[in-house]
Symmetry: D2
Subunit: 290 residues, 4 copies
């Protein structure tokens, strides 16, 4: 079990006549991720919470008045990963997928799997099906795309990234998801914080990664290669970045860069923390069923 | 109340080694649409049904063996529309939208509302909010896009259609949805059969239309102008065409054109049927809540 | 695969000022039970349907006006049971039960498992856990309770039945459910039609039976011993009879006895029907997850 | 808005071979109740969380090993009640109730509304329908039942309490719920902490109260009259006490009395806290829809 603590500090200047805000920064409650403490501080009152029963995303909504809006949140979570031997994980025939998994076969705003079908089949169609094929897709993405900060914008899609050959974690995730779906492997987008990111990549920030449905569970993949999967804290999940922005602001708003941090902490029993490491096992924090 | 009967006949030649199939042709059970009879005939056994609890889509899945696959389905539905005076319908602030409605604010595969934001605000941002603004969007789409059979393909998006100026019902729907979302008005894609389509448009076919969330209900709009909203039977709904294909076939399949038909029928009490007509009222068949 | 057809005919005389009605007679859509055709005829219009997303119960609601109310319904269903070797089925520790299964551990109106705890532990606590223990409970119920038509009333509970030693199918089910829950085995009440009932028991009627959660699925048990489990068509499921009455009438109503029938029919391919038989296998029509 | 803080401290001695535990002590996330901070400390690891999507109950499950088990939890919540003029609240016809509300019309383990139907109709059937009738039921319960600590046991039902004329908060709630349901008014059981309880009633403890569905929302009632409705923090809700025990322990366990506390705290803006008071308004913290 891993115990991680993270903090998020968001600041906005809201102009008249105010703005509707949706935040998705709270740690998800999943069967493998237990929130043991959290603290939320909002400088404006009357926020409304909502938890998506399927995706477990925790949305916070607010009609912000003109002036400063500051959201501070911190959480400590215990993660007890479901672990599996990669070679034991297989792809499922579509007729055996649970109903709620089906939407993750279809193209979405930033993952145009319909346009990548022929290429994906040519490239990966003859590989042995299962976890190894998904790893092959991940490796291929890492070879084709180069990580560079600020190299993409909000409208950049998987096809755009394949064309430019450069992107940030969000773009690596979109390409990998699009390729999986093009091969009829359910894949979805996840956001969170990552413990253990290389400081050379810049200050800590929200991270985007991938969950792939194999053998009746969602397994973690980090196509950008910048995180340690065991050190990922899940915040949100959805079809792609359109579904899980950490903040969506509807109105005249000036934003400051978010300030985030994450560290490993000792358990309540005083034992030293188990630090995330690059395990060869496949990891999952959610079967995706209630 | 309107009583309508429709029939669907789908034929496929499945090649080795077989194909996974997902069909979405059954009439949705909504609070205002009651399925009074239906009949399904599948030439291959072992189909599995699943009903999406939020969207009410009824998916039929099958691992089809090589050979012929034929799906025949017919249903009779009673539709008792919720009717409202258009001028009474208002847009809702984002903080008041029910959680399950939020995804319909975000861009999706074929509705790139993020790319259309500036244009939509310039064009419609100063209009009085409410049903009239949505009608203005619908009228604008009808002026900018020309209906032409077979003028688009499966990967055509709202931006593609705005560029080409031509499309089919699916494309009209995508453009209208993208514009609504760009203005923070929740909008979704619906498929079904339409009673009363102009025979000059060709043989009866599946139809695509739009539902917009106003005053806590989903209201019907037919941006292509080819149907009578009161004559729409709902089959599926989703973010865009990616979610509600009437058939998705994973494997080597040769398809024949679907054969569909729809007619108005008399009620069980023998009274003549109430025929759909172009009412000025706003119509809804679903509040979108359980 | 078994193909069964059933029909239900309900008649009521509604007195002034009318009555609200809730019906639960339509065949459930489960992963193993596919409704291939159905027909509903209501003598009064404006009924509203609702499908419970967890339980799959299909409720039909109506504000009936004074006068006659008649509901005729018929359905043909294909049942492809999930089959398991009984000895392979185990009880699950409470910490491994899916969340939606937990309510079926608790006492309910007609299944006072809290009052039966000590007795159940004394009687069955030392038995080997698993399918065999559930069978032992079923056998014990059959020995202690004698079937007699019209021997119980709507308020009769499991404890009442254990005291009187007599009951109908509903009462056998309540006793078995209460005993299972007293031993921390999730159990629920199911209603439906049963093909193959002994004609000596009277005219065909709705049937009540039991589903027990073992090895991550709900398995069928017929404690009254009057049905062939393979011939059960599922209509509703819930905690006990309070949840799944075939008709609940709120207001001044005079009811006639329901007329029901069920038969086996040939498949669409013309093959003779597979008749239900007393298989030694454990049968399930629902994993209880979406 | 009211900001309240509560703390719960539970201690158990688990004997061999261990025990499965289900806890329901965490503050519910409702649209009107925002958890701004919380802290959970469990002396044994590997707990699993689950949130019921309909009821919002947050269940914590654990396979506890022999030895001490201690659960400490504290939370600060902001409650922004939905407020309504009581005279404006009406009862809904059954055909207009949302589907998920229907189960709260039916009898449950400790609320035998089926047995109380005739009495309830005789007593309250002629009263004007709406909030005033529900208040009349609450007043009647307070007159018939006397509060006395430790006067009931876990199997005590509404009918038992009406016979004995004595009970604790749980029993007052069960009687009021049973009478509402007997009159076709949906009612459910809620548990939580209550700020402002009379210290003469003993040390702070978990509280049980009632939610009644009127005009499309669940409104708070405190039939025992020992709490200030505005000071109720919601933990769980369900059909009756069977669904929302704060702790359910399956195995050999010796429990100590729970230690709980609650106080009002100042908001983050430093303003003094708004103290709960006996408002004449009707209060709701949940519409019961997603």
């Amino acid at each position: 079990m891993t115990r991680l603590h993270y903090a998020v500090d968001l600041s906005y200047q809201i102009d008249a006549p105010g703005a509707d805000c949706v935040f998705n920064v709270q740690a998800a409650h999943t069967p493998q991720q237990l929130v043991v403490s959290e603290r939320l501080n909002l400088s404006q009152p009357r926020a409304l919470g909502w938890v998506d029963p399927q995706l477990r995303n925790r949305l916070l909504r607010l009609q912000a008045l003109p002036g400063l809006l500051r959201l501070q949140y911190e959480a400590t979570v215990d993660i007890a990963h479901h672990r599996a031997v990669p070679a034991s994980l297989h792809e499922l025939p579509i007729a055996e997928l649970p109903g709620p998994v089906l939407p993750y076969l279809y193209p979405s705003r930033y993952c145009e799997s319909d346009r990548l079908h022929a290429m994906a089949v040519a490239q990966f169609g003859r590989l042995w099906q299962g976890h190894a094929r998904v790893l092959a897709i991940q490796d291929w993405v890492r070879q084709r795309v180069r990580f560079a900060s600020n190299s993409s914008v909000g409208t950049t899609t998987a096809c755009d990234t394949l064309a430019s050959g450069v992107g940030v974690c969000r773009d690596f995730a979109h390409v990998m998801i699009a390729l999986c779906r093009a091969l009829n492997i359910p894949a979805r987008f996840a956001t969170g914080l990552d413990y253990g990111a290389d400081p050379a990549l810049g200050p800590p920030d929200f991270h985007a990664y991938v969950e792939v449905y194999l053998s009746h569970r969602w397994y973690l993949f980090d196509p950008s290669g910048t995180a340690i999967p065991m050190g990922l804290v899940r915040i949100g999940t959805g079809r792609d970045a359109a579904d899980v922005a950490f903040a969506t602001l509807f109105g005249p708003v000036r934003s400051q860069a978010p300030v985030v941090s994450i560290q490993s902490v000792a358990g309540s029993d005083g034992r030293p923390a188990e630090l995330p490491w690059h395990t060869p096992e496949a990891l999952s924090t959610d079967a995706g069923q209630a």
